[in-house]
Amino acid sequence: MHPAFSVIFLTTLIGAGQGLFLALYTGQLYSLARLLPVQSESFYALGSIIALALLVAGLVASVFHLGRPERAWRAATQWRTSWLSREVIALPAAMGLILLYGLFHYLGWTNPLFVVSETLPVDITLIVGALATLASFVLFLCTAMIYASLRFIKAWHSPLTVANFLFLGIASGFMLAAALSAYMGTELVAFYGTWAVIATLLGGVSRGSSLYRNSRFRCKVDMQSALGVHHAQLHQKAQGFMGGSFNTREFFHGKSEAFLLMIRYLFLLLVFALPVLLILLAYLLESSRLPVAAFAIQYIGLVLERYHFFTEAKHPQNLYYQSMA
């Protein structure tokens, strides 16, 4: 498939935004259980604003993918059948809940509404945060299922696609949380850094598996089935037009194997190896800059990773364009 930058930025930006929110909420839960020191309200508020900004940026990027963005509201109507439609609902829902979460923290509405079994004080941010967590996970699922549900595109049609979107989004979000706490001088750098490394490693396992899987399979249909002509030697002599068409632009990446191999090594380095090393170093040197660098490098890596994700997909319609495939 042709990698569209609008979708690449949409999926990587909202992934980082959702991940950052999940990191904030995890931090709040840990401090509630007194495993971590309680953070200032401004930390949560600022974190939520950044998460929201990433989601908004993703939304803006997605608009460039649409031919008719002015009608985008219609895309919320087919949630019964379409994962894309579900994403269109889940994204604003997550945005709204994260906005409320940040706002309530900013306003300091943290007096417990009630106390569960005399140990767990529940305030409004905890409830809104739980809902936003749910929305974030649903959004991860919807975004990934847009690709994983296309059964004709075998490279995507796998639970590994969902695992990749989930782990890589969470990894970049926790990296950002580590960077933010390092920048704000809170004590959570090591906590977020550790979880970021764990998510990155999990993502490494799932992404590695999907790369391995995609390097090995053959498409279920072949040219014989595409034409219904069961002869071992089939050669296309004409594709029906002299110039290009939507079919030759949308479904081919037009890049050489060597270039894609380079992208693959680059993203493996930038998404997995370097950020983990940088976080370890940051831990040893107690640096407040290195986590910021780790997030930035991983984000660039994720853009390349998503680019590669699109080029991995081989569409069965390409069987009708033998000379290009």
Binding site: M1, H65, L66, G67, R68, P69, R71, A72, R74, A75, A76, T77, Q78, T81, S82, W83, L84, S85, V88, I146, S149, L150, R151, F152, I153, K220, V221, S225, A226, L227, G228, V229, H231, Q233, L234, H235, Q236, K237, A238, Q239, G240, F241, M242, G243, G244, S245, F246, N247, E250, F251, H315, P316, Q317, N318, Y320
Partner: protein, 240 residues
């Protein structure tokens, strides 16, 4: 339920592109238009088409067989392009099974084109919505036309009658009989999309003629030249 469809006979298609041009002519100016062309007379021309004719060769030269292969939306009975559409712009008509796009609802997200394994959908770069073959829905449902004209433009234009049109759910329709008797098949049946359009394979019509059917062995005019049977009586000796 009715399921309108095309049956394309690869045995007679000569690859003349008459269906392509008549489709474009009818549809660009009709309900489904315009079918925009970009840079038609410049370098790298491009444009929207509902139907394209490709050419394939089976075998190795000189022992080859040429296939001209018209390719358009197959109006699948279980169309994977429809449920993925987030706006409901893509739909399958209940009454005749034609798969259509509502240009007023489509947001041009291209998701349906990813979900069609046949590459039958094309985005219109000017109108920025998804387009595809409509089976000339504005023609085949137009009761003011004579019945013989209520057919897709490509079917009427085809000089070799390689394109048949009708209801594949009616076992006695011309298309159903052709599918049944001439070995009609579907493209990429593995996916379970159940394309309504079918293709008829290349087939050779040969009769077997033996030497003695051309030369009458017992022709009385050749009595003198009759070779003497080597051994015993032949069947001809007994027969008369």
């Amino acid at each position: 339920m009715t399921q309108l469809a095309l049956v394309i006979d690869l045995n007679v298609c000569v690859g003349c592109h008459a269906c392509v041009t008549s489709c474009k002519e009818w549809n660009t100016s009709g309900w489904a238009g315009p079918m925009t062309d970009l840079r038609p007379y410049d370098e790298d021309p491009s444009g929207t088409f509902f139907n394209r004719v490709q050419t394939y060769e089976a075998g190795i030269f000189p022992n080859t067989e040429t296939y001209h292969f018209p390719k358009s939306c197959l109006h699948c009975e279980d169309p994977p392009c429809v449920p993925v559409c987030p706006t409901g712009a893509s739909y399958k008509r209940e009454d005749n099974g034609v798969v259509l796009v509502d240009y007023d609802k489509c947001i041009g997200c291209k998701y349906c084109s990813w979900a069609c394994p046949y590459g039958a959908r094309e985005i219109d770069e000017k109108q920025r919505v998804m387009k595809k073959c409509t089976l000339c829905i504005d023609r085949i449902t137009d009761l003011s036309l004579a019945e013989s004209l209520r057919k897709p433009a490509c079917v009427l234009a085809c000089p070799t009658n390689a394109r048949l049109f009708g209801d594949v759910h009616d076992p006695n329709s011309e298309v159903s009989v052709a599918i049944r008797e001439e070995g009609g098949y579907q493209l990429q049946p593995e996916w379970g999309t159940r394309p309504a359009n079918h293709y008829l394979p290349r087939r050779k019509t040969r009769i077997q003629i033996h030497e003695d059917e051309l030369v009458r062995a017992d022709n009385p005019l050749k009595k003198e030249q009759l070779p003497t049977p080597e051994a015993g009586e032949t069947l001809d000796d007994v027969a008369w």
